[in-house]
C-alpha cells in the first residue's frame, strides 16, 4: 500500500454502491465493498466500514432495500437490492458524472496543450 490512494469525493461512494448493486443484483455489504475495490483496481482508499453509512443513507432515501438472508456458504448476512427509484436515480447521477468527467477531461487536456506552447 505504498502508493497514495484516491480519496473519495463526497457522494461518490453512494454512486459506486448504487452502480455495484445495479450490476450485481442482491448483495451484502462485504460483497459490495470487495467489488468496488476490485473494479477500482485497489486504487480507491476505502475503509470497508464506511460502506455501511452509505448503505443506510441510500436505504433511508428509498433507493435500495435491505433484508437479512443466507449467503451461498450458509452465512447469515444482510442483502441489499436496488429499487426502481434507485435505478432512476442511478441513471441521472451516472449521466451527471459522465458529463462532469467529460468536461473535466477536456479542461485538463486544454491546460496540457497550453503548457507545451
Amino acid at each position: 500500500m505504498g502508493e497514495s490512494k484516491l480519496d473519495l469525493l463526497q457522494g461518490t461512494l453512494d454512486l459506486m454502491v448504487l452502480q455495484t448493486l445495479a450490476a450485481m443484483g442482491s448483495q451484502h455489504g462485504y460483497g459490495i465493498a470487495r467489488r468496488i475495490e476490485q473494479v477500482s483496481g485497489d486504487e480507491v482508499l476505502l475503509n470497508q466500514g464506511t460502506i455501511y453509512a452509505s448503505l443506510v443513507r441510500l436505504q433511508q432515501r428509498g433507493w435500495i432495500s435491505a433484508e437479512w438472508g443466507t449467503s451461498d456458504n450458509n452465512r447469515k448476512a444482510k442483502f441489499y437490492e436496488i429499487t426502481k427509484e434507485g435505478r432512476k436515480q442511478l441513471a441521472e447521477d451516472a449521466a451527471h458524472w459522465q458529463r462532469l468527467a467529460g468536461v473535466m477531461g477536456r479542461v485538463l487536456a486544454m491546460q496540457e496543450e497550453g503548457g507545451k506552447q
Binding site: 464506511t50 455501511y52 453509512a53 436505504q59 432515501r61
Partner: protein
C-alpha cells in the same frame, strides 16, 4: 427532479427521526452486520492461505475501525445534533444537581424576574397592545368635548344633540351612546324574596349593534323598544344571568320585576362583553335597558357618544366633519338660544379612538412599569452572570480537561449555553407559574380601577414573550462567562492555578464591573420608585374637602311618586326627615345626611347661576357641579362649613337657599364674604347661606372646579345616598343602618354599605397599583444587588483566605482586615451609586409627568434612596468582612 429529490430527502428525514428513537435495535442490527462482514473477510483471507490470526488482523485493517464505522453509521442514520444536545442536557442536569444551592438560587432569581415580566407584559398587552374586544374596534370613536372642570355634564350630549349629530354626520356607519349618569345599585330586583340591588344602565337602542356585540341568547333591542310607551325590556349581562338566575336556559321571554315594574328579558349578552371593564373600570353592570330618548329631551346632557367609522373614512376626516357639525348642535331644538352651546371658549368636539379613551391615560404609567420590570430582569441576568463567573473559577479545570481530551471551543460554549438555557427555562417555568397565580389574583381585584383588568390572561402572545425573554436572558447571562471560560489558556488552566493568579484577578475585575452595573440599575429603580412613592404619599395627603374616614354610605330607596313636583318635594321632605331621624338614632351614628351624587363618582352640572347684578359674557363660565343634599350631609361628610347648613324649614314656602364652594365664592365675590349674598339663576334668586370647602369631585389629583349645593326640599335629587358618620369602624354599622331603613321602607334593597374611604381608595387605586408594583420591583432589585455585592466580596475573601492569614500572622489587626474588605465593598458601591444617580436624573425627568407634587430632582428622595442603597451595600459587605477579620491565621495557613 427537484420534487423527487425533495421526497427522498423528506423520507430520509423521517427515517432519521425514527432512528433517533430506535438506537438499540439499530445498533444490534449493525453489530450483526459488521460481524458477518468480518467473517466473510476472514474466510476469504483464510482461503488465500493466511494464518487465522493474520486473516483476522487483515480483515480488521481493511474494515478500518469498528467504532468509527459505528459512529459514522449513527450520525448518518440519526440526528447527531439532537444526540449532542441530549448529551449536554444530561451532563447539565448532573452538574446542576451537584451544585444544588447554586441551582436553586439561580432558578429562584430567574423565576421571580421572568414571572414579574410576564405579569407586566400581560397587563400591558391587555390594556395597551390588544385591540378592544369588539369587532373592528379600530373603527370605534369616542366623541366628546375636550376635558373641562364641570365634570360629566361637560363630557356628554343631550338627546337632541345626539339626534342631530347622528343625522348630520356622514363619516359613521352609526353612532350610539349610553346614559352617563347612572350609579351603582340604581335598580331593585323584586318579586324574588328580599329586594336585591342591581346596577343597570340605559343604552341607546343601537348600542350593541354599533359595538358589534351579539347576544348568546335571545336578541338585541329593536327600534320600537326605544320608543315612548314601549313595553319595558332588558338584556342581562352574562355574569348577572349566571349569578342571579343560575344561568336559567329559559330566561328569554320571562318577566322580572325591576323597581316594582315588570320588565321582559329579551336576551343574554356574551361573557366576553363586560361593559364595566371597558367604559367604567372596576364597576359591574348587571342589566341593560334601552334609553328612550324622547323621555330625556328636557334632561340636558346625558349621553356619551360612540361612533363607528365607515371603513373608508379616516379619523382625520371624521374630526374635520365633527368641527363643522359641532357648532350647530342645539342643547334643545325647541330653545333657539341653546343652539351652538357646545362651543364655549372655542372648545368643540374632539375625536379619540375608543381604545385611546379607555387606556390612553395609562400609557405612560404602563411604559414605566414595563421598563422597571425589564430592569429587574437585567439585574437578575447580571447577578446570574456573576454567579456563573464564580462557578467558572471552580470549573476551569474541568473545562481544561475537556479541551485536552479534544472538545472544541464551540462545543464548550454550546455546553455552557445549554446550561444557561436549562437554568432560564426552569426559571421561565417557575415564572410562568407565578405569573398565572398573580394574574388570576389580579383579574379578580375589583377594587383596582384599571380598564380591562379583569380580562387579563397569559395568552399566546405572553407565552411567546416569555420564550423570548427566557432565551435572551440565557444568552445574556450565559454567553459572557461561557466565552470567557472557554477562552482560557489550556496550559495555564491545567497548571495548578492557585488563588491570586492572573486569571483569578481578571475574573474578579469582570465581576466587580458586573456588581457596579447591578448597583447602578438598582439605584435607578430605587430612586424612580422613591419618587413615585413620594408622589403617592402626596396624593394621599391631598385635602379632599371631606373626611373619608369613619363615614359610610348606602343607596336609599324612597317613594318618589306624587302628582306634582311640589307635592313630590313635600313628600320627599317628610320621608327624608324620617329616615335621618331614625338613622341618627342608631347607636354609633354621630351624624347622617343624604346626597344624590357622592364625590369621586358620578356628577352633573346644570344652570349657570351668577351673582345678582353682575353680568358675565355668555359662555365664559362653565356650569358648576350640582349636588342636591339634605340637612346634615355637610356634617356627615366631614366638610368644613362657613355660614349655616340647610334646615328642614328651607322648603318651597321659604326663600331658595344654596351652599357654594370656596372656589365659586372666590370667583363671584373676591375678597368678600359670600354668605348672605344672592345668586341669580334665570328668574329665581338663590340666597347663599353657607360656603363649604372645595371637594374633589372628579378625581383626587385634579383641581376642583365650582360646586353648588341645593336642598332636597327645594330641588329634586337624582336619587339618594345616605351618608353616616360614626366613631366606630364604619362596616360594623351596616346591619343596623339597613335594619333602620327597612323598618321605614320594606322595599329597601340590601345595597352595598360602602365606607367613604373605599371610594377614595378606588379613585387612587391605579396610582397605588403602579406604585406598589414599582416599589416591589425596586426592593427586588435592591435584594439582587445586595446578593451581588455579598457574592463578590464573600468570594474574594474565600479566595484570599491564605493571603489574609499570612497578613494576620505578620501582625495585621482584625480591624485592619475588616477595613480593607469594607473599603473594597464601598468602592464598588460608591461607583455604582454614582452612576445610578446620574442615570436617575435622566430617568426622573422622563417620568416627571407621573409625579404629583414632587420635583423630578427631589433631593429628599434622592438622598434617602442613596442612603438606603449605601447602607444595604455596607451590610452586604460587612458579613464577609467580619468573616475575614475572624480568620485564624494558623488554620488558614495550614489549609493548603
Amino acid at each position: 427532479m427537484t420534487v423527487k429529490f425533495q421526497t427522498s430527502n423528506f423520507r430520509r428525514a423521517l427515517h432519521r427521526l425514527r432512528s433517533f428513537f430506535r438506537k438499540a435495535p439499530l445498533d444490534r442490527d449493525l453489530q450483526a452486520e459488521m460481524a458477518s462482514h468480518l467473517e466473510f473477510a476472514i474466510e476469504e483471507n483464510l482461503r488465500r492461505g493466511l494464518s487465522p490470526e493474520e486473516a483476522r488482523r487483515q480483515a480488521l485493517v481493511r474494515f478500518g475501525g469498528v467504532d468509527q464505522a459505528r459512529q459514522q453509521h449513527r450520525e448518518t442514520r440519526g440526528l447527531p445534533f439532537l444526540d449532542i444536545l441530549l448529551q449536554d442536557l444530561r451532563y447539565t442536569l448532573r452538574t446542576l444537581r451537584r451544585d444544588r444551592v447554586f441551582t436553586i438560587i439561580a432558578v429562584l432569581i430567574l423565576g421571580l424576574g421572568i414571572g414579574a415580566n410576564v405579569v407586566v407584559f400581560s397587563v400591558v398587552n391587555t390594556i395597551l397592545l390588544r385591540p378592544l374586544p369588539f369587532r373592528d374596534s379600530h373603527q370605534l370613536m369616542w366623541i366628546a368635548p375636550p376635558p373641562q372642570k364641570c365634570g360629566m355634564s361637560c363630557a356628554t350630549y343631550s338627546a337632541d344633540a345626539y339626534d342631530e349629530f347622528r343625522a348630520q354626520s356622514r363619516s359613521y356607519q352609526d353612532i350610539t351612546g349610553y346614559m352617563a349618569f347612572s350609579g351603582a345599585d340604581n335598580l331593585r330586583l323584586t318579586g324574588r324574596g328580599e329586594p336585591e340591588p342591581a346596577t343597570g344602565i340605559e343604552v341607546i337602542g343601537n348600542f350593541f349593534q354599533v359595538l358589534g356585540v351579539q347576544p348568546v341568547k335571545g336578541r338585541l333591542f329593536t327600534a320600537d323598544e326605544a320608543r315612548q310607551g314601549a313595553h319595558p325590556v332588558t338584556l342581562l349581562a352574562n355574569a348577572y344571568w349566571r349569578r342571579e338566575f343560575a344561568g336559567d336556559p329559559a330566561i328569554v321571554g320571562k318577566e322580572i320585576d325591576l323597581n316594582g315594574k315588570p320588565v321582559t328579558v329579551v336576551g343574554v349578552l356574551p361573557p366576553s362583553f363586560d361593559f364595566g371593564a371597558v367604559f367604567s373600570p372596576a364597576s359591574r353592570i348587571d342589566l341593560f335597558t334601552p334609553l328612550i330618548l324622547d323621555d330625556e329631551r328636557t334632561w340636558g346632557n346625558i349621553v356619551t357618544l360612540i361612533g363607528r367609522l365607515k371603513p373608508d373614512v379616516s379619523m382625520g376626516q371624521a374630526q374635520a366633519e365633527a368641527l363643522m357639525v359641532g357648532p350647530h348642535l342645539c342643547w334643545s331644538v325647541k330653545i333657539a338660544a341653546s343652539c351652538g352651546s357646545y362651543v364655549s371658549k372655542g372648545i368643540t368636539m374632539q375625536l379619540r379612538t375608543l381604545k385611546d379613551y379607555v387606556s390612553g391615560r395609562l400609557r405612560s404609567s404602563l411604559m414605566v412599569l414595563w421598563c422597571a420590570v425589564g430592569m429587574i430582569l437585567l439585574i437578575a441576568c447580571v447577578n446570574l452572570s456573576n454567579l456563573l463567573l464564580a462557578r467558572a473559577a471552580s470549573r476551569s479545570k474541568e473545562f481544561g480537561m475537556r479541551t485536552a481530551l479534544g472538545a472544541s471551543r464551540g462545543r464548550l460554549v454550546r455546553q455552557l449555553l445549554t446550561e444557561s438555557l436549562v437554568l432560564s427555562s426552569s426559571g421561565a417555568i417557575l415564572g410562568l407559574a407565578l405569573a398565572y397565580a398573580v394574574i388570576a389574583w389580579l383579574a379578580h381585584q375589583g377594587s383596582i380601577a384599571l380598564p380591562l383588568l379583569n380580562t387579563v390572561t397569559v395568552d399566546g402572545r405572553a407565552l411567546c414573550w416569555t420564550l423570548l425573554i427566557a432565551v435572551s436572558a440565557a444568552v445574556l447571562f450565559g454567553l459572557a462567562p461561557g466565552l470567557k471560560m472557554s477562552s482560557g489558556n489550556l496550559q495555564e488552566v491545567l497548571k495548578d492555578s492557585g488563588p491570586g493568579t492572573s486569571e483569578g484577578k481578571k475574573h474578579e475585575r469582570m465581576r466587580g464591573a458586573l456588581v457596579i452595573s447591578e448597583v447602578a440599575l438598582a439605584c435607578v429603580l430605587l430612586i424612580g420608585a422613591g419618587l413615585l412613592l413620594r408622589s403617592f404619599l402626596k396624593v394621599l395627603d391631598i385635602d379632599l374637602g371631606f373626611q373619608p374616614d369613619r363615614a359610610a354610605s348606602i343607596k336609599v330607596e324612597y317613594d318618589d311618586s306624587a302628582p306634582t313636583g311640589d307635592a313630590s318635594a313635600v313628600k320627599r321632605g317628610v320621608i327624608f326627615q324620617q329616615i335621618l331621624s331614625r338613622v341618627s338614632g342608631v347607636p354609633g351614628v354621630d351624624g347622617a345626611g343624604l346626597v344624590d351624587f357622592l364625590p369621586l363618582g358620578q356628577n352633573r352640572a346644570w344652570g349657570t347661576p351668577t351673582p345678582k347684578g353682575k353680568t358675565y359674557p355668555p359662555g365664559s363660565l362653565p356650569g358648576p357641579l350640582v349636588y342636591v343634599i339634605s340637612p346634615g350631609y355637610v356634617q356627615a361628610m366631614g366638610m368644613r362649613l362657613h355660614g349655616r347648613d340647610f334646615a328642614w324649614s328651607d322648603n318651597l314656602k321659604s326663600e331658595h337657599v344654596v351652599l357654594i364652594n370656596s372656589s365659586a365664592a372666590r370667583l363671584f365675590w373676591p375678597g368678600e364674604d359670600a354668605v348672605g349674598k344672592v345668586l341669580a339663576n334665570g328668574d329665581s334668586d338663590l340666597h347663599v347661606v353657607g360656603v363649604v370647602d372645595d371637594i374633589h369631585a372628579d378625581s383626587v389629583e385634579g383641581q376642583p372646579g365650582w360646586q353648588i349645593y341645593y336642598p332636597m326640599t327645594q330641588e329634586g335629587p337624582a336619587g339618594a345616598n345616605l351618608v353616616v358618620r360614626t366613631s366606630l369602624p364604619p362596616t360594623t354599622l351596616a346591619g343596623s343602618v339597613l335594619h333602620a331603613l327597612r323598618e321605614l321602607n320594606p322595599n329597601q334593597p340590601a345595597a352595598e354599605f360602602r365606607p367613604i374611604r373605599t371610594i377614595v381608595d378606588h379613585a387612587v387605586s391605579p396610582r397605588k397599583f403602579f406604585v406598589l408594583l414599582v416599589t416591589i420591583f425596586a426592593e427586588f432589585g435592591l435584594i439582587l444587588a445586595t446578593l451581588g455585592i455579598y457574592g463578590v466580596i464573600s468570594y474574594s475573601v474565600t479566595q484570599q483566605t491564605q493571603e489574609i492569614g499570612i497578613r494576620m500572622a505578620l501582625g495585621a489587626t482584625q480591624a485592619r482586615v475588616l477595613r480593607a474588605v469594607m473599603g473594597k465593598t464601598m468602592r464598588l458601591a460608591v461607583i455604582g451609586i454614582f452612576l445610578g444617580t446620574v442615570a436617575s436624573v435622566v430617568v426622573a425627568r422622563w417620568i416627571a409627568s407621573l409625579l404629583f407634587g414632587t420635583e423630578p430632582t427631589d433631593p429628599a428622595t434622592f438622598g434617602a434612596m442613596i442612603l438606603i442603597m449605601a447602607a444595604v451595600a455596607l451590610i452586604a459587605g460587612y458579613i464577609p468582612a467580619r468573616r475575614a477579620a475572624r480568620i485564624n491565621p494558623m488554620i488558614a495557613l495550614r489549609g493548603n
